[in-house]
């Protein structure tokens, strides 16, 4: 049970998010109305994705410097869970946009940026699939993963801030300022990020363990 404490923590935090995400007080805002609560579920997906992609980057660098196969596997599986979270983030964001901005997809720098990011990471998996030799695959994928991470930062972190964007924190909109979240929302939001990220890590470890078993069988 000792090594499972973080899984329990993740589950508890997500349950906390579900309960206080709906029942907690939120600031009353025009247009947003109650949909402001989507912050706890939509924005957390992106935060978790960035956490997972950062972990993937670290594993890739680890593989490139040490060359152990496990680090490459870890890099691959964390990126794959990150892609899962970003797809959920994209779909939920699209639904939220329909009822606050008026359309499922608006030509917003951040929306297009995330779509491009998703394609960049899709290419990471295509690249992996197209090389048979594990060492060559690991090296190529590792180098590409560093490139993908930098591109992700550019497309969802830098470019949206330089142009007009509907998202808070971009193009002159304040991010997480007093207009977006009050202290009560923060009390749900940050635990929510940790909770969802831990669930993501859990899913990732399951996939890593599965692949390790497959490797053992092959040998």
């Amino acid at each position: 049970m000792k090594q499972h404490w973080w899984k329990v923590l993740g589950v508890v935090l997500v349950f906390y998010t579900i309960i206080w995400g709906f029942l907690g007080e939120v600031p009353a805002r025009f247009i947003l109305n109650e949909s402001i609560r989507a912050t706890y579920f939509h924005v957390t997906m992106w935060f978790s994705m960035i956490i997972l992609m950062t972990a993937s980057l670290v594993f890739s660098i680890q593989y490139l410097s040490k060359g152990n196969r496990l680090a490459d596997l870890k890099a691959k599986e964390t990126a794959s869970t990150g892609v899962l979270f970003s797809i959920i983030g994209l779909v939920t964001g699209s639904l939220w946009a329909r009822f606050t901005w008026g359309a499922f997809w608006v030509n917003d720098a951040k929306l297009n940026g995330t779509a491009i990011t998703l394609l960049i990471y899709a290419a990471y998996f295509v690249l992996r699939g197209s090389v048979d030799d594990p060492q060559k695959k690991g090296r190529l994928a590792g180098v590409y993963n560093i490139f993908a991470y930098v591109m992700m930062l550019v497309f969802i972190g830098i470019l949206p801030r330089m142009t007009d964007s509907l998202h808070p924190g971009n193009g002159g909109n304040p991010a997480f300022g007093q207009y977006d979240m009050d202290s009560q929302m923060r009390m749900v939001f940050y635990p929510a990020v940790i909770g969802f990220a831990l669930i993501g890590v859990w899913i990732t470890t399951l996939r890593i363990r599965m692949q390790k078993l497959i490797w053992k069988k092959e040998n």
Partner: protein, 73 residues
């Protein structure tokens, strides 16, 4: 009886003014009603059950993997 008539008359007299009153205090529309009649708890329960299902599924997967890992050793 007469009092009741009087009361209902006053109520009806004020009825057309209600939308106006609502307009006067212009506040963002929030789902206060949903919370006041208690049904928001139903939504919370459903969302929690959905997540519980996913967690049970993950635990199940985790257990199966652990069994396979043990058999392998």
């Amino acid at each position: 009886m007469q009092q009741l008539q009087k009361l209902s008359f006053t109520l009806f007299a004020f009825l057309p003014g209600i939308p106006l009153l609502a307009q006067m205090r212009e506040k963002p529309e929030m789902a206060d009603l949903m919370r006041s009649n208690g049904k928001i708890y139903v939504v919370v329960a459903i969302a929690a059950l959905v997540f519980l299902g996913i967690v049970l599924y993950l635990i199940n997967l985790d257990r199966r993997l652990r069994k396979l890992e043990k058999d392998d050793k």
